[in-house]
Amino acid sequence: MRTLKYWQAIAEGLVQGMERDPDVFVMGIGVDDHKGVFGTTGEAFARFGPARVFDVPIAEQAMTGLAIGAAAMGKRPVVVHPRTDFLFLATDQMINLAAKWRYMYQGASEVPIVVRSIVGKGWGQGATHSQSLQSLFGHFPGLQVVMPALPRDAKGLMLAALQSRAPVVILEHRALYETEGPVPEAPEVTPIGTAAVLRPGRDVTVVAASAMVLEALAAARQLEPLGVDVEVVDVRSARPLDTETIVASVIRTGRLVVADTSWPTYGLAAEVAALAAERAMGALRAPVKRLGLADCPAPVSLPLERVFYPDSTTIAAECLATVGRAAAELSARPVEESSFRGPY
């Protein structure tokens, strides 16, 4: 299969979704400019023009309301936010209206909007350009929340979102944009609400989301030579969460580490740990461990960013701990010098 970068997969999914359904349109800051939201909307703009891909006033709340009102008339609006943090301005429309619409009006109409947003990380993104809101949106019945980690799911979940009856939040991760992977050319949907076991393993389950999936896979590789066999589960959807797949894996391995892109407290890591406590308790052979952001807002300075974000080594250390071994056995992974050039 040919490979695509994550951003290319998003772009392709969007274009195929727009081909399929003439009611899809895209609006957001800079969707039609030369950068095209880091490359993800440029092709759609080139193909479908300003009637279906257009720039907007910077008014996140109204934009979301507009999307809802257009959706109620049969459109399928895709709203794009260059940073997930801006969504706080849209939470009333998303949670108090879109999420509840079908229920409050009991199916009289539906508002299948798609809200795309990008989670920032590193290079001094700082406290308000780096947040990932899966647990916030996941808490409310009526929304679907997806978090693609691999390029194929970036495309597949985009296509799924464009066909869902529910309002869907897509949380993309900026740190994944340049990662590559196989992506089918056909418009293959990744079903919303399904997790994926990306690597089977016997000893410990790592349930991970978004960018942490790649860290989990790296951790699994780090642990291979030490004889610890890690199963990596990519949640893919934060709501609905694929509880069957997660619980089955935990029951198989008897050990659970959860690695999320947000804070553990009241986070996705808490939800997954709670699932284990409810439904896999008898099988657990070690305490569950949650990993996520350090318990502070995101700092800017590099040495602080380095300790703020968990990585594969942190995950590997916790996996070792669940089998009663010491993190000291791990050789430190060299800090990778990224080719990234600012200002982001």
Partner: protein
């Protein structure tokens, strides 16, 4: 699959539910009588609901529009069944004036499965897609941008449909209102903003919330939205203004705003008088009652020779009958089945 609202075409016109009693019979006078009929009907329904509300069997906070009906009726008379409207917490009159099913409203207030939202939405979440009453909601100004979005869809489809949003002077305090004005004007969208300025939000008079000397309609003008302030208790004035605005919308000239000055008779939420609570006076209410939109319309039409006392009596009888039936049915209607609690979640 999205349900595209496909409003019933050719639904009966305002007041045509029954044959009209005689009087002048030109189409114009027929239309004026229908406006009056609709106004009277909304008034009588709300009065009855307010009465029944006191039995404590409608367990849903209800905001009555008594005293303000001319806005809903006048604006909706300027719309077709294909046009859509949105409203806020004080939404019964808008729902009814747009042709929303009465039985569906009554049953909704009683929390029954036959309610327009099947007992899930309550008084503040009315919908009747078949007549273009898309949604009302309980968060202030929330449906304002939503109406703009529907207008965006109409414009994208080169459809002649118009979207209307009804909101109060309190919703004007919220920033999203201005975001919506800006957007509508920028994209020249066929949306009509109808501000029902009843001078209060909950118990706060407008001067506690908006600087003296400023005008809501002038704010809209600053965004390039043509706007005027009119007597919201004169159903014919409302109709005329709305008609001009809707024509503008329909002909692709973009949005408009109509600020309708009016007054709420009952307490903010609930069925009672509240002039003894200190935030407004009996005197003020009485002055506004002398400008009762129903009586004003009757006087105007009487003077034109279009409406006679017997005609009004016949209207009253028709309306009373319709209400009695809807109430009887609503009270008898089945409750939602608790096993359906999770229906219509994704």
């Amino acid at each position: 699959m999205t349900s595209k609202p496909a409003p019933r075409r050719g639904r009966k016109r305002l007041g045509s539910r029954r044959r009209q009693p005689a009087g002048s019979t030109s189409p114009k006078s027929e239309f004026l009588r229908r406006l009056y009929y609709e106004l009277l009907r909304v008034r009588r329904i709300e009065e009855k609901l307010a009465l029944l509300y006191q039995e404590q069997e409608m367990r849903t906070p209800a905001h009555f529009s008594i005293g303000q009906e001319a806005v809903a009726v006048g604006v909706c008379a300027a719309l077709t069944a294909q046009d859509v409207i949105y409203s806020g917490h004080r939404c019964h009159a808008h729902y009814l004036a747009k042709g929303g099913n009465l039985g569906g409203l009554v049953a909704e207030l009683y929390g029954r499965e036959t309610g327009c939202a099947r007992g899930r939405g309550g008084s503040v979440h009315l919908t009747d897609i078949s007549v273009g009453m898309v949604a009302s909601s309980a968060i202030l100004a929330q449906t304002v941008p939503v109406a703009v979005g529907s207008a965006l869809a109409f414009k994208m489809d080169a459809s002649p449909r118009v979207a209307v949003t009804f909101f109060g002077d309190g919703a004007v305090d919220e920033g999203v209102f201005y975001e919506s004005l800006n957007w509508a004007a920028l994209k020249r969208l066929p949306v009509l903003f109808v501000c029902e300025n009843n001078l209060y939000a909950t118990h706060a008079p407008i001067w506690v919330r908006q600087p003296k000397g400023t005008e809501i309609y002038r704010r809209a003008q600053a965004f390039g939205v043509p706007a005027e302030k009119i007597d919201g208790n004169d159903v014919f004035a409302v109709y005329q203004s709305a008609r001009r605005a809707v024509e503008r919308c329909r002909s692709g000239q973009g949005p408009a705003l109509v600020e309708c000055l009016t007054y709420r008779w009952l307490e903010h939420v609930g069925p009672l008088d509240d002039t003894d609570r200190g935030y407004r006076s009996r005197r003020e209410l009485d002055a506004w009652k002398r400008r009762d939109p129903v009586k004003v319309a009757a006087r105007q039409l009487g003077a034109l020779g279009v409406l006679t006392p017997p005609a009004i009596q016949e209207f009253e009888a028709q309306i009373a009958e319709e209400i009695a039936k809807a109430v009887a049915e609503g009270k008898q209607a089945p409750w939602p089945d608790p096993r359906d609690l999770l229906r219509h979640v994704y």
